[in-house]
Amino acid sequence: MTVPEVDQSVAAEAAPAPVGGVLEGVQVSCWFGARKVLEGVDIKMDAGVVTALIGPSGCGKSTFLRTLNRMHELVPIATLAGSVLLDGHDIYGAGLRLTEVRRRIGMVFQKPNPFPAMTIADNVAAGLRLTGRKVRDRDDLVETSLRRAGLWNEVRNRLGAPAGGLSGGQQQRLCIARSLAVSPDVLLMDEPCSALDPTSTRRIEETILELKDQVTIVIVTHNMQQAQRVSQHCAFFLAAEDEPGRVIEQGPTEQIFSDPHDPRTADYVNGRFG
C-alpha cells in the first residue's frame, strides 16, 4: 500500500478555532427490556477534542455511543433516560428533527458498511440523496470528502467501481468519507479499527488527527495505545457483575493513563484486566 500524501489544502482550510459541535451526555441511563446496562453517564465532548471511551467488553460504552445519535432506539426493546445535548439542544426533544440529528452527528461502525452495490463515488454522495440535500458540484464534494478521509489517492481512478471491491481498511475510510460528505458537526466511531490490519489502523488514526479540528470526534476503542495516540479526553467505563455500566473516571487522556485516580482505572489501562 502506498502512503497517501497529506493533503495540504485541507490542512490550510482548517479554521484557527476548532469547529464542530459540543455534545454532552447528561445522566444517560439505558435499558434493554428490563435489564439496565448503563447508569447516570455524564460526559462532555468538546469541539476540537477527540474523546475516547474505553473499558472492557459489555461495559456499555458502545450503547452510550449509540445514544449520542439516536441509533440506540432502533433496537425494539431499548429505552433510555437522561438527555443528550448538541450545542445545548436536546437531541431527544421535539425541537430537532430525527434525521437532522443523525446528519449532524455522523457514525462510523465497527464493521465497514458501505453500500456494496453502489459505486465508490455514489457511496460518498449517498448521504446527499438520503438527506435530500443538493450541492452545486457533486464531483468536488466527492473528491473533498475522500481527501479528508485519506482515501482519494487510492481510489481516484476507480470512482465508478463498486465499493464492495475495496479492502476492509479502504471500506472503513470510505464510510468516513461518506459521513463527512453530509458535513456533520460530530463524528462517532464505534471501534472503527477492530476489523482492520495495522497499516489501515494507522491510516485511520492519521485521518482522525487530521479531522479533529473540523469535527468533534468520539471514539470507542479497545486498544489502549490507540486511545493514547488519538484522544485528548478519555472516559473509562466499567460494569460490575450484574450491574449497569458506569463511568468510573474521566479526564485528560494523559492523566488517565499516567496518573489515574481510581485503582480500577489503573488496573485496566495497565492491562491487568479486561
Binding site: N69, R102, F115, P116, L130, T131, G164, S179
Partner: protein
C-alpha cells in the same frame, strides 16, 4: 496416476511430479460410504424432477403432434377454436392473448401491493402487529384458489360493477381500454381475481427476502440522516431485487396457469381486443378446462398443443427471470 491399491489402501500420497508444476493438478478425494450414499440420494431427488419435467414435455408433444401437423403455423395465429369442425380450424392466438392480458393485469396489481405489504410488515409495523400480519399473509397463501374465485365472482365483481360502468361511461370513446358494451366477465376482472390469489404467496416470498437485508447497512443509511424510506430505497430494495423478481415470477406462474378464476369469471370469447373491461375473453388454462369435455380426437390433441404452448411460455418466462436475477451485481455483495 494411481493413489490407491487394489484393496483400497493408500499406496502413495505423493502425486507424480508433472513436467510442468504450474499446471493445475487433478484433485481427488476418497469419500466415506455415508457421503457417497447421501450424494446418490440427493442426486436421485434432483434426477426425478428432471425426468418428470421431461416426461410432461414429451407427453404434451406427442399428444399435440396430430393437431400441430394439421394446423401447421396457423396454430399460432388463428383465433377461433373449432378443431372438430369440418374443416378443422383452431389456434392459440386468442387464448394466449387472454392469458397474457389477464396475467399482466394481475402482475400490475400484485407486485406493488406485495412489495408495499412486505415493506410495511418488515419496516413500519409495530412488533406486535408484525407477527400476526406475517402469519396472516402466510395463511392467505394457503387458501385454495376456488375460494378466491367464488369470492371474486359473487362479491368483488358485483361490487366493482358500478365503478367499471362509470369508468366506461367516462372514458369511452377516447380510451380504447375503457370501451365496453357490457362489463363483468372481462379479462380485467379475471386479472383482478388472479391478483388476489397471487398477492399472498408473492408477499410472503418478498417479505422473507427483504427481511434478510443486512442490518448494518440499514443502520449506515439511517446514521447518515436518511429517512426510513431512504434506507429502504438505498439498501433494502437494491438488496432484495432478485427476491422481488423471484417472488413475482412465482406469482406470475400462478397467474398464467390459473384456471378456476378465469373459467368462472370470463364470458367465453375467442377474440383479440384492447377493450379489457369488456365482457369476453379466454385464457389457455380456462380454454382447456372448458373445451375438454366436448373435445373429440383432434380436439383433444389441439388442447394438448395449447397446453404445450403454455408450458413453453412459462418455461421461457422463468428463464428470462433467471437472467434478470443473475444480472444483478452479485460480485459486489461478497
Amino acid at each position: 496416476m494411481r493413489t490407491t491399491g487394489p484393496e483400497g489402501s493408500v499406496t502413495s500420497d505423493v502425486p507424480e511430479a508433472g513436467p510442468r508444476a504450474e499446471e493445475p493438478r487433478k484433485l481427488e478425494a476418497r469419500l466415506t460410504d455415508a457421503d457417497r450414499f447421501y450424494r446418490a440420494f440427493v442426486a436421485a431427488g434432483a434426477g426425478t424432477t428432471l425426468v418428470l419435467i421431461t416426461l410432461i414435455g414429451l407427453f404434451l408433444l406427442t399428444g399435440a403432434w396430430p393437431a400441430l401437423k394439421t394446423s401447421g403455423f396457423s396454430f399460432l395465429t388463428t383465433l377461433t377454436w373449432a378443431p372438430d369442425g369440418e374443416p378443422p380450424k383452431f389456434g392459440v392466438a386468442a387464448m394466449m392473448f387472454g392469458t397474457f392480458v389477464s396475467a399482466a393485469v394481475a402482475m400490475l396489481i400484485t407486485v406493488p401491493i406485495a412489495v408495499c405489504t412486505a415493506l410495511f410488515i418488515n419496516e413500519y409495523a409495530p412488533r406486535a402487529v408484525r407477527r400476526s400480519l406475517t402469519s396472516l399473509v402466510d395463511l392467505m397463501a394457503a387458501i385454495p384458489s376456488l375460494i378466491f374465485a367464488i369470492w371474486g365472482l359473487f362479491f368483488l365483481v358485483p361490487l366493482l360493477a358500478p365503478i367499471e360502468d362509470w369508468a366506461v361511461a367516462q372514458f369511452h370513446g377516447w380510451l380504447p381500454l375503457a370501451e365496453a358494451s357490457a362489463t363483468g366477465g372481462s379479462l380485467f376482472n379475471a386479472g383482478l381475481i388472479i391478483a388476489c390469489m397471487a398477492i399472498p404467496i408473492t408477499t410472503s416470498i418478498i417479505r422473507e427476502v427483504l427481511a434478510q437485508a443486512p442490518r448494518h447497512e440499514c443502520e449506515g443509511a439511517l446514521a447518515l440522516g436518511g429517512t426510513r424510506w431512504g434506507m429502504i430505497s438505498s439498501v433494502i430494495l437494491p438488496f432484495g431485487r432478485s427476491g422481488i423478481v423471484g417472488g413475482s415470477m412465482l406469482g406470475l406462474g400462478r397467474a398464467l396457469g390459473e384456471t378456476l378464476a378465469a373459467t368462472l369469471i370470463l364470458s367465453i370469447a375467442f377474440e383479440i381486443k384492447p377493450r379489457i373491461l369488456e365482457n369476453g375473453g379466454i385464457t389457455v388454462a380456462s380454454g382447456i378446462a372448458i373445451e375438454f369435455r366436448d373435445a373429440q380426437e383432434l380436439g383433444l390433441s389441439a388442447l394438448m398443443a395449447a397446453g404445450l404452448a403454455l408450458f413453453l411460455v412459462t418455461f421461457a418466462i422463468n428463464l428470462l427471470a433467471a437472467l434478470v436475477v443473475n444480472r444483478s451485481p452479485a460480485g459486489a455483495r461478497a
